[in-house]
């Protein structure tokens, strides 16, 4: 942590400072759709390359990365341009992050501004002494190859730069949305999913926990995992709320009807309830979770929030190990080493240390696209295609065991 940072000084029970950055058009829309009341205590800021996007935003802090090169027309969908611009104004970004303890970056990758600025902003925030968590969406398939590639490249850069990246592929949400929906609705729904995840993490970090989940736990979970995290936020109320919550969770579209859980290798579960969260309820949920993700490392947190009354909210973040062999990228490694020098220090360095030593992975963007699609392809059930599925606690036993347990056959 750098010297000029007001850090969490022991003895002073200061609320950590959260700052949310919306980067690019998509990011700005996301930040604007956040309910400021719900996220009270957070400071909002937006960054873009063109002025028109910024003008409509309600965020109190607006940063326009402008240069004569762009002539006020934005980055023109070229992340290299906006990246160069962001590097040029690195100090501006850094000072924007100054004073924050945790920085959330919201962006849609694939376009110009978001893809270019987000990784640089993450790095700037880290150098300014904040922990960085990025929430990004990946483009829809129909948006074309170029955007997909740009998004993947940007994601590769963002992962080492941020402490954690939570990423929502558009292809996943596209399936859930009615085809006839207008494009505006589609984007709104996708953003809604992301915000749900953000809300869950927000609650996780800000509510005083009975069983606390620290930011470090979250980072540990996200670090070095698969490109695609899955997350879900569900809530239920009433007498059978724990059962209902589990049911919704297992049917949650973003968890592939529970399949994502079975394939996961690290899961974070956070339960928040109004008064009267009982041990039995926690047990019931955790038992199910354990059963669902037999091989995963599970971290759990529990908190009470009187405002929720008799609601029970469960946030699940699932990370999956990359099974494909990956090579270390020299270019990216050197980048992280510079980060190291920038971020090593005292204070919360215990949190950050593992982040610095993490290996960085990179694959060719093209092959990655194919790889990341594989688990999504529907497994043919062969002989049992048309028969009633054998469901056992949310698991379809007709699907070969070796597939469900993720056993690689070389």
């Amino acid at each position: 942590m750098t010297e000029d940072q007001p850090s969490l000084i022991p003895g002073q029970p200061a609320q950590p400072v959260f700052r949310m950055f919306g980067v690019g058009n998509a990011g700005i829309t996301l930040v604007d759709s956040l309910d400021a009341l719900e996220f009270s205590g957070a400071e909002f800021a937006v960054i873009n390359t063109d002025a028109t996007g910024l003008a409509t935003s309600a965020a109190p802090v607006k940063i326009q990365l402008e240069s004569k090169l762009l002539r006020g027309l934005g980055s023109g969908g070229d992340p290299e341009r906006s990246r160069a611009l962001a590097e040029e104004q690195f100090s501006t970004l850094k000072s924007a992050c100054a004073g924050a303890d945790i920085v959330f970056i919201l962006a849609g990758l694939g376009g110009g501004a978001g893809s270019g600025i987000a990784p640089v902003l993450a790095r700037a925030a880290r150098e300014a002494g904040a922990l960085v968590l990025a929430f990004v969406t990946l483009p829809f398939e129909c948006e074309g190859n170029r955007r997909e590639q740009q998004a993947q490249q940007s994601l590769e850069l963002l992962k080492p730069a941020a402490d954690g990246v939570i990423c929502l592929p558009g292809t996943k949400t596209a399936k859930l949305i009615d085809e006839n929906n207008s494009i505006v609705d589609t984007f709104r729904v996708t953003g809604g999913f992301l915000i749900e995840g953000l809300r869950g993490i927000w609650q996780l970090l800000t509510r005083p926990g009975l069983i606390q989940v620290h930011f470090a736990d979250l980072c540990n979970l996200l670090r070095d995992r698969h490109v695609e995290n899955a997350f879900a936020y569900v809530e239920a109320s009433g007498a059978g709320r724990s059962r209902e919550v589990m049911e919704r969770l297992l049917n949650h579209p973003l968890l592939d009807e529970g399949r994502a859980l079975a394939e996961s290798d690290a899961v974070l579960v956070s339960l928040t309830a109004g008064k009267g969260l009982t041990m039995a309820e926690i047990n019931r949920v955790m038992d199910q979770m354990k059963r669902q993700c037999g091989h995963a490392q599970i971290t759990m947190g529990a908190a009470e929030d009187p405002a929720l009354k008799d609601k029970l909210c469960v946030t699940v973040i699932v990370a999956k190990q990359n099974s494909a062999p990956t090579a270390l990228s020299l270019r990216l490694e050197s980048r992280t080493t510079t980060n190291n020098t920038g971020t090593t220090g005292t204070g919360t360095s215990a949190v950050r240390e593992p982040a610095a030593s993490r290996p960085v992975r990179q694959r060719k963007p093209n092959s990655k696209m194919v790889q990341s699609q594989l688990p999504l392809s529907v497994v043919s059930k062969g002989r049992f295609d048309k028969s009633e599925p054998t469901l056992h606690r949310g698991e379809d036993l007709d699907v070969p065991t070796f597939l469900r347990r993720g056993l690689p056959l070389n």
């Binding site: 059930k381 009633e388 054998t390 036993l397 070796f402």
Partner: protein, 408 residues
């Protein structure tokens, strides 16, 4: 000619085969297996009929074979049923003893049993078996016959096995369509455990796992009564399907590979070994890695055992299985299955043999026939019970008369 009343036939419509076993009840009450007929089943998936026409055809073939072998005409059968819809659970019935002297009468027993049977089933379900476990008299445990005892409160534990009424009715209708009468419907797991376990083993506590083609049934006995039962709609078909998917071979080929090279545990001999599959001209089509084959198979079978183990643990029965675990069904033929089961359950496991029945030894030794043999045994117990009550000759007539009134 045999006395027809003493002929008992068991019919199992399994996922891989349809099997008819004929037994004869001797004058001293000894059961003798005298005939077996079987046909490869088509039109059955996961223990349930999906194509009645094909099943009927196969059933006739199996029936014909059994009749030929036993040289009898089969009129009535005990029909085995299974499927994922079948569930077992324990229920307790309570009945206050109201008579002035507090002596428990047979009427009280009848009432308490009725109370225990009146369980909250889904509307479409029907009870297949309701087995009395133990009575409690004023909380005193382990009473087997409370009639004549004194008490204020009579309770009984029952194990109720129930299933989807329409699905069970489907099988019954199909059998009736072939002019056979269905005497009683029996859960396959119950039948298999009847064939395999001796009274002593039932007393000590034992688990029977019947690994069939489409389903796996399991039944736990302890203290001489059924304590737990269940069906997992996973069987040998799933193993073949996994192999077909994992090794990328057709299902029929996967089936053959399973039988020829399959193993429930990874054998050392399989490491790095491959088999080349050839077409009819002897040309190589594909090489299959035996290690993968066995690993896929082992994972599936292990999972089945794990699921059962989990279920038993939740029911709190793991410590009651002092006689160990007995395997039957085609799945118990897989090499290494006993060892795999021992690894999972950490308990003695043995392949089961149909015991306490005499007759065709070839049939008795085969684990696939355990269920059908058990059906015959179930039938013999029922007949014996009925025959004991009324005078012998009239009794039989009454029994037969009752079938007609019941089932027509």
């Amino acid at each position: 000619m045999f006395d027809e009343a003493n002929i008992i036939a068991g019919l199992e419509i399994g996922t891989s085969k349809i099997c008819v076993v004929v037994g004869e009840l001797g004058p001293e009450g000894a059961l003798n297996i005298i005939g077996i007929g079987q046909a490869r089943a088509r039109g059955v998936r996961k223990g349930e009929i999906i194509n009645p026409e094909q099943v009927e055809e196969d059933l006739r073939a199996a029936l014909f074979e059994a009749e030929q072998m036993a040289d009898v005409e089969i009129r009535r059968v005990f029909l085995g049923v299974t499927g994922s819809h079948i569930r077992g659970f324990n229920n307790r019935g309570v009945h206050p003893v109201v008579s002035a002297d507090r002596e428990i009468t047979p009427d009280d027993v009848e009432d308490v049993v009725k109370n225990a049977k009146a369980v909250n089933l889904p509307a479409e379900n029907t009870v297949i078996h309701a087995v009395r476990q133990h009575f409690f008299v004023d909380g005193q445990e382990g009473v087997t016959n409370p009639v004549g005892m004194l008490g204020a409160r009579l309770e009984v534990d029952m194990h109720v096995i129930h299933g989807h009424a329409n699905r069970i009715q489907n099988a019954i209708r199909l059998v009736r369509g072939t002019t056979l009468e269905v005497e009683e419907v029996v859960f396959n797991g119950t039948a298999a455990s009847l064939a395999l376990l001796t009274n002593e083993q039932k007393e000590l506590g034992a688990l029977v796992i019947d690994m069939g083609g489409g389903t796996t049934e399991f039944v736990v006995y302890s203290g001489g009564v059924i304590r737990h039962s269940g069906v997992l709609a996973v069987g040998g078909d799933h193993v073949s399907n996994d192999l077909a998917y994992g090794l990328k071979v057709p299902l029929s080929r996967a089936e053959k590979l399973k039988i020829e090279y399959g193993s429930a545990i990874l054998t050392d001999a399989a490491k790095g070994q491959t088999i080349s599959l050839t077409n009819e001209l002897g040309m190589e089509l594909k090489r299959v890695n035996v290690e993968h084959l066995q690993r896929i198979m082992s994972l599936r079978l292990e999972e089945v055992f794990q699921l059962i183990a989990q279920d038993l643990e939740e029911a709190g029965l793991t410590d009651y299985l002092r006689a160990g675990i007995f395997l039957c069904g085609g799945g118990s033929r897989v090499p290494g299955i006993v060892q795999l089961a021992e690894n999972v359950f950490q308990m003695n496991v043995a392949p089961g043999h149909a015991s306490a029945i005499s007759g065709l030894t070839t049939a008795l030794d085969q684990p696939e026939f355990a269920t059908a043999i058990g059906l015959v045994k179930f039938g013999s117990l029922k007949l014996r019970k009925r025959a004991v009550r009324p005078a012998f000759s009239t009794g039989i007539k009454q029994v037969i008369g009752r079938f007609f009134t019941q089932h027509n």
